[in-house]
């Protein structure tokens, strides 16, 4: 039986600001994870990661992060990725302050 693949998103840090960005279906980088492309197929996910890694003048350190589908779009499953969508908990800085 094929092992089940946990859905993923491609994420990275923006080159200039260093904050978290996610890859969308139409190949842009979004600061809103819910707008990211949810990757449910392992081979496709690897391919998207390779493509992202080629965009060195936009981002740094791309990787595949676990995600789950929600009505609003992809959402994090792990608290680390959850923090990346918001910012630090000691100040109202980062993404939580920008919305």
């Amino acid at each position: 039986m094929p092992r089940t693949f946990t859905p993923k998103v491609v994420t990275a840090n923006a080159l200039l600001e260093g904050d978290a960005v996610w890859l969308t279906e139409d190949n842009t980088w979004t600061r809103d994870m819910a707008k990211a492309e949810l990757l449910t197929d392992e081979a496709h996910a690897e391919l998207r990661l390779l493509e992202a890694a080629g965009r060195q003048d936009e981002i740094a350190g791309p990787y595949l992060a676990d995600a789950k589908a929600t009505d609003d779009g992809p959402a994090p499953t792990h608290f680390r990725e959850d923090f990346r969508t918001r910012g630090p908990s000691n100040y109202n800085h980062g993404k939580q302050a920008e919305v």
């Binding site: 200039l16 600001e17 260093g18 904050d19 060195q56 740094a60 608290f79 630090p88 908990s89 000691n90």
Partner: protein, 556 residues
């Protein structure tokens, strides 16, 4: 204070020019992140969870008011109006933009500061006792030696690609406030029978995933031999240190695997070999540097006003009870300014606070400031008659918290709120513990107690040497906190022992509360500190307090 000579200034300017070009090439895409990463790390620039982070060296923790003002200026112009003082006596900016980092480095160079060798497998910023040059218990100021080591180690061609990072700490006092036994090399000043100054040389200490207490490789090293001996140690390490496994690459493992005797023999023979090359130039340089660290011209004045203010104002008295340390000059005191107001982020100072500290140093502190590894700011030379005015100025800046050495004076690393390596948060845990004990109004009754928190096994928050250590871990996708007990970072360095199973995020603060209040029932009298009680009784009664249910099960 030490001032840059022409060479230092030109060197830093050239490095900044190179880095500016590297940043440009990164931004236009001609350098990949993999290519750029080692270059940025050589300049103290990290990439964190939410942004870049720039780590600025504050060599041996010493700075003047103009430098502090400039740190405030950088915080306002390039960051979010604050900076984070760290256990490595550095300041970190959490929100710089890549394209602005070269400008920040230039602004630093304007006040003789830099971010070199704050990262990478080099000899890092040399740390020193934050009371250096001021403490009553000191043999001699260790900072000239620290500065000599900095000049020798900066861009040393042999030591730019060591097996791993290399940290040196130095103290001029037998009472170790610099945690020298938890560094790759620790230098503790001692006197021999003839009354000459020298160093006890300690090697192979470290925290991280394999904590080890440093071992004495030489009981007494004359000051004149210091550089040659340190170079001998680092070159033996450079040869033997493991490059095959990052987790076994620190010198603590090299010493552990090869044995202290072997390392000592190799170091001594290497020392004999290179010693003739040190023909006295370094000693001439040291003499010049010592000149730069001359004791300020202390004033003589009556301290009657100070005593009267203590009697008149209980808040002032309480602050003087906790935040002052004995100075070598009777009329003077060392002030520790708490950067740990209850509920605030340990070590974070706003730009306004930095400017207030700079102003106080200018007005009353012989223009000197220090950053302590406990993430507080020190005014090393303050005449007692000025203390009431300083206290008033500190209150004005919201910096007058009277909690040095108490429960709420917590070391906390950035943890998962900033750090890309973190497995859990540490800052909110520190904030909540401090807030809780402030509500309980017991911390003065509890007395000296060091709580230290790290957000992962790397132990940047020194949890292994906290009387109570807290280590944040990721257990199956949720934050979990392990408690260690009985650690100590002084000359009697001990690694704390694990108390038992970890606690969930919402259980850790109540667990610490139980533990500390439980200690109050265990101590023989209010004079017996937490650590002394722990040493007398061992871990069992403390474990029983932490895990009452389990205890009940065992009894059943």
């Amino acid at each position: 204070m030490y001032s840059y000579n022409d060479f230092d200034a030109a060197f830093v300017a050239e490095r900044n020019r190179q880095f500016r070009a590297q940043v440009e090439r990164r931004i236009d895409g001609s350098l990949t992140e993999d290519e750029f990463k080692p270059l940025r790390l050589m300049n103290g620039l990290y990439l964190q969870l939410h942004a870049y982070m720039l780590r600025v060296a504050i060599p041996y923790g010493t700075l003047n008011s103009a430098q502090m003002d400039q740190l405030a200026f950088i915080a306002d112009k390039f960051d979010k109006g604050y900076g984070h003082f760290t256990t490595r006596q550095n300041i970190q900016y959490n929100w710089p933009k890549l394209n602005e980092v070269p400008d920040i480095l230039e602004a630093l160079a304007d006040v003789e500061m830099h971010a070199l060798q704050t990262s990478g497998n080099t000899i890092r910023n040399v740390t020193a006792d934050h009371f250096a040059g001021a403490a009553a218990d000191e043999i001699a100021d260790p900072r000239p030696v620290a500065e000599l080591l900095r000049q020798w180690s900066t861009d040393h061609p042999e030591f730019q690609f060591l097996p791993r990072k290399f940290k040196i700490a130095v103290t001029g006092s037998p009472n170790d406030r610099a945690v020298t036994r938890a560094h790759d090399i620790g230098l503790r000043m001692v006197q021999n029978d003839a009354g000459e100054n020298g160093f006890e040389v300690i090697v192979g200490g470290g925290l991280g995933r394999t904590p080890m207490v440093g071992k004495v490789i030489r009981d007494f090293l004359p000051v004149a031999d210091l550089l040659a001996y340190v170079e001998a140690i680092v070159s033996v390490y450079n040869l033997l240190g493991r490059r095959d496994n990052k987790y076994k690459a620190r010198i603590k493992i090299t010493v552990h695997e090869n044995g202290l005797e072997t390392i000592r023999d190799m170091v001594e023979s290497r020392f004999e070999q290179i010693k003739p090359g040190f023909t006295g130039f370094d000693q001439g340089l040291l003499a010049q540097i010592e000149h730069a660290f001359a004791t300020p011209a202390f004033k003589a004045a009556s301290t009657d006003g100070y005593e009267a203010a203590r009697l008149a104002n209980p808040a002032f008295r309480s602050w003087t009870d906790t935040n002052l340390t004995a100075h070598k000059n009777d009329g003077y005191a060392i002030v520790s300014v708490s950067i740990k107001k209850h509920g605030q982020t340990p070590g974070d100072a706003t730009s306004d606070q930095m400017r207030a500290l700079a102003q106080i140093a200018r007005d009353y502190g012989h223009d000197e400031l220090r950053i302590s590894h406990e993430q507080n700011v020190i005014l090393p030379h303050v005449h007692k008659s000025d203390l009431p005015a300083i206290y008033a100025a500190l209150r004005e800046a919201d910096l007058a918290t009277a909690n040095i050495g108490l429960v709420s004076d917590i070391i906390a690393c950035p943890g998962m709120d900033y750090c890309a390596l973190a497995t859990a948060r540490s800052i909110p845990v520190a904030q909540q513990i401090a807030t809780r004990f402030d509500e309980l109004k017991v911390e003065h009754d509890v007395g000296p107690l060091k709580i230290k928190i790290s957000g992962c096994i790397n132990a940047c928050g020194h949890h292994h040497v906290g009387h109570i250590g807290i280590l944040g871990l990721d257990r199956a996708g949720v934050e979990n906190y392990q408690i260690t007990l009985g650690g100590d970072g002084t000359e009697d360095t001990h690694i704390g022992e694990r108390a038992g199973p970890g606690f969930a995020y919402d259980e850790i603060v109540p667990a610490i509360e139980r533990l500390v209040l439980g200690y109050l029932d265990l101590r023989t009298d209010p004079e017996e500190t937490f650590l002394q009680t722990f040493r007398r009784l061992g871990a069992d009664p403390f474990k029983a307090i932490l895990y009452p249910a389990k205890e009940a099960q065992n009894a059943a």
